[in-house]
Symmetry: C3
Subunit: 464 residues, 3 copies
């Protein structure tokens, strides 16, 4: 009864060899792994006699002979060299063809490599797979338990055979749908942080603007008014102002789209109208914004902690002590200053602690271990708490300084005031949403209720 | 021969549409993903003409027509609206019914949603699944490689069809057993850190008690005896005493149950007697205790590092320098004080380093990459080393202070002495266990030996 | 049609019980999990009447009766007790036998336990599995979503049955090939950081050598020339010199093999010649070298940040202030010193930030979420940037000190100069490789080109 199940054909390793075209790095690594998994392996090569080293225990034949001996062929050759396959149309028809090729750049060919292969061999069962693996990862595979491969095929029998082989190799297969998506799969190894691009650009813009702004207000102002050169401050003092400012702005930009979305839903009285595109795109990069904000917060902490080691600071402290001695001053301890300084530092540390917690829970393995409610609790409740603490930290930093006219050099506000605007607005709007009456409407809308009453059916639809 | 394998029926996407009841967020996201995977999708709706947007390429029909056209139906509707399904008993019999619903709260219905569904449609093959996924996760699924779904069914054919669909969607399926456990699965997305509850309460209790204790000994004592207001110390100074105290106690509470368990086994002379319930529950939350302890240790480190930035500390240092100048004192450098101060700091840093290492190895993805022996080496050997270093750090902090009577304000010991009790006991007991004779008995018991010699068979049983 | 598929036999839980030999921890935990998954469970025991507690709902029989009632038997007994199985050869023939046993040490038996079992029961279908799981992990399994099991078998039918059971238990199966590799699987839980051994030994050697070197130059030199005892410096001051030195050397040892490999390829004109063994082994432990380097960098940061809290430092600062007052000196603020001190610190912090980033991306769950190009961008580009920043930090630390003769105590260079050698060489070589002409040749070679022109076929092979 066993022979009736198509899984059998490929899975019983003894019966039939698997064929690999191409004896490059990838071909050799793959052959080695297949051998280890108990398969017979046959290489197809243009010049079987002089093709370089292959794993011991495998055979090298001509392409034609190799193709005939197996019912599953791995194509480990560059697309540029696919043309010779046309001569094997007959031998490869009916065979499962696993296309593992990648290109060096995106969009240099009109169709995906796998689609091109299917065109060349119309009778073959093409599976696109393994292209997200490197030869390196293949060779070291068994130790790396969590390696997954993406793959796709239109062809169910081909797919079953391929899966049984991939499983034997210790790879867990993630199906990515039919062959039409092959291009997406082939572009996958060429992507370079696509979702990070927007947040990174924003960060760069903010950093440069605030650096310039503070440079003008600090270094240039001092030079113009007092003639003193304090340009050394750009290395640490200015950086330690820019980092927390950018971090706080990015953190509030994480939570602003959620608030905007809630008000849009309240305004439209339904959750079934799509959000505008810019809001959708914004919401999709919240995680990245938050992680960059965390990075800047970490830099702020490090820059703050080295303050007492700096030559400048040590000099100032010594100078002030010496001048006190000389003037014979007796300064008295001011409890309110101590309160202010300590609470400012303590709130900052607590805010940073929660910040780190948010960062840890966004590690893939940690967030996968959380239930949906836990994840949203951490990212929303703890997130707003973090935003609140960091904003409070900045307010405490400012203290009563905003009352002194000397703060407004050249009539411009200091950087920390500018950066307080956004988080204050976000927190105020969030408070508004938390008002019982607003909250009730919003919850009703999010469960499917519509203000204009049309949605009898959609009211019954499941929201998550 | 292919048609003989039941996998085929659902897996060949062209043949038959899949049906989704409900056009809410989840229904629409699911439809989109099914479309991307190459399936035909049909929606069932009460008012097919005016049901809101569905993904382009899908059809909307009446519930009855939709049910008839497919052999697998996803029910993306709230349980409150299941009643209309009774009218479709005939159409849904023999179909695979995937119940994805969640409730807003636990225990509001007598039976699980999936069991209720099975009651309504006795002839349907009910699978409980996807309820741990959000519409959001479904839409962004392909990028999130490690998303797993839990699911369960009593029905093997139904289950196979469901698995082939879930796999096509790029989800890896974790089977949670038969439908009887549906309630557990439905409660899953509603859980909020259940294992963290006990450790968090304990932490809160300890923190509040020690804060109060230190507040009385520090702030109130100074106010009463000297009339000075040093309440500003609660922000940083007191916190920086409470955090390490609680951290050390929690860390030793991590290792105490293991020691108790060993002594219980030695006392009873067998490992086949169950531990008392409190010990079992305690052992299950050791990881959480350790992580909270690590969090407090991190706060302690940050609070310590900002010491030189505090106004209070700077004032004190300046004051002492000035007074030295005025008194014309010549203090000499005391090498033993330098030794003491440096070794206290160095031991603390090393302890913290190992602490962090323990934290990193308890990340799910890291601990999965370790073998069982590696994991137990890190968590046990390195764990005890960490406990030892942190305890030593506290002893060094105390130094010879315990000899001075002025330490015992109002005849109470300082906080660090109280917190040294528990780790000292744990380390002493562990040392006892490591004695060769005790260790030998324990190893024998853990390999299945029993003192009263009854267990001939169980001696042969495998222990891990 | 269902009965035709071999999956069915084991997967329909109602039909037939599963059998477990052995009622120890592992046997009981496994039984409990199988019960939860809906299977009937039967225990085989030598003395069925007095075998200790088994999960309620299971039956205990004699080994013979239990073996006859099931077609899949889990053997949860120590290998020492396998001998009695010989009496059951008849009953166990044709059954699927899952061997879960582990040994206490490596290489105490000539063949793997699973192979021994196969010898005892030649007619059984042996599967080696579950031995990497502990009884503990089995009991807590359902919550730990990412638990994977490794397993292997020569026997396809046996394997399919086993897989369907393992899947029902919520475990994802990683196939490790045929039974010949059983020993590797049995050694797996006994391994203790095998890839870490070489890097750790190297680290130990470097640390001890530099500690000794600096101890001689610092403590002994001062004692000999000035007669002063500054031995307290070994706790923090010396450690804080050794840690960054070792960290920088380890980091450059991470990148040196890649550079050597590139020059080897350039020299040989082909990428098809194998690298020497020592280079291969070196390249395989680069990740471990990098992580240890990161650990030492973290220690360096902590040791640096506590500087202002140290008694020694506070004493020195107070002393210098007092002496300035007494001498009535007026020291002027030196902007160039401020520039130097600040830029040295800032570069160090930035280097450390990228260091941490490298560490985070080498977490398994993070690196799995990156595409191949992203991973190599982070580990290569950002890695060299980190190495550059850390080297620059060290150069800035040295400053113009290398010009002063007093730096070379006993004619030996200070530690930081020694450690600058290696990273400077690595960076210089890397710069050489980045020269357009060299880069072009290297890229051609890595795409399969060979200088001696022999490789017509291999030029077509796929590189990754």
């Amino acid at each position: 009864f066993v022979a009736l199940c198509p899984l059998e054909a490929a899975a019983a390793p003894q019966q039939e060899p698997l064929c690999i075209f191409g004896t490059g790095d990838f071909g050799r690594s793959l052959g080695q792994r297949l051998l280890q998994a108990g398969y017979k392996v046959v290489y197809g090569s243009r010049r079987p006699q002089s093709c370089g080293p292959v794993p011991p225990g495998t055979q090298v034949m001509s392409h034609m002979a190799a193709a005939q001996s197996a019912s599953l062929v791995f194509l480990c050759i560059h697309r540029e060299n696919y043309d010779f396959l046309e001569t094997l149309v007959h031998q490869l028809s009916g065979k499962v063809l696993v296309d593992v090729s990648n290109n060096l750049k995106k969009n240099i060919y009109p169709e995906a490599n796998a689609e091109y292969l299917q065109k060349l061999i119309p009778g073959g069962h093409v599976v696109k797979a393994f292209n997200t693996l490197s030869a390196w990862a293949l060779q070291n595979g068994p130790a790396d338990a969590s390696r997954q491969v993406l793959s796709e095929s239109q062809d169910f029998i081909a797919y079953l055979m391929y899966i049984s082989v991939a499983t034997k190799l210790g790879l867990s297969v993630l199906d990515r749908g039919s062959l039409n998506a092959a291009r997406e799969l082939e572009d996958f190894p060429l992507e370079l942080f696509p979702v990070w691009r927007l947040p990174l650009r924003l960060t760069l813009g903010l950093t440069v603007s605030f650096y310039t702004y503070l440079f003008l207000r600090d270094v240039i102002y001092t030079y113009v008014t007092e003639g003193k050169d304090i340009s050394f401050r750009i290395m640490v003092s200015l950086a330690n102002k820019v980092f927390p400012i950018v971090s706080l702005i990015l953190l509030s930009l994480c939570y602003l789209p959620g608030v905007i979305a809630a008000f849009l839903q309240l305004y439209k009285g339904t959750k079934y109208k799509r959000f505008p595109d810019w809001l959708d795109r914004w919401m999709l990069c919240r995680k990245q914004l938050g992680l960059i904000a965390l990075g800047f917060a970490c830099l702020h902490v490090l820059y703050t902690l080295i303050i007492p080691i700096r030559y400048y600071v040590r000099f100032k402290i010594a100078e002030s002590t010496i001048s006190k001695v000389k003037m014979n001053q007796t300064s008295t301890f001011d409890t309110s200053v101590a309160w202010h300084s300590d609470s400012y530092l303590a709130v900052g540390i607590l805010g940073f602690g929660f910040y780190i917690l948010l960062g840890i829970t966004s590690l893939p393995s940690v967030s996968n271990a959380l239930s949906w409610r836990e994840f949203s609790f951490v990212q929303s409740k703890l997130g707003y708490l973090t935003l609140f603490l960091c904003t409070l930290h900045t307010y405490l930093y400012g203290g009563t300084r905003f009352l002194r006219p000397s703060t407004y050099k050249w009539c411009t506000p200091p950087g920390y005031m500018l950066c307080l605007l956004l988080p204050s607005v976000v927190l105020a709007l969030k408070l508004l949403i938390l008002l019982p009456c607003v909250d009730r409407s919003l919850t009703r809308i999010r469960r499917g209720w519509e203000r204009n009453g049309a949605g009898d059916d959609s009211r019954k639809a499941l929201l998550t």
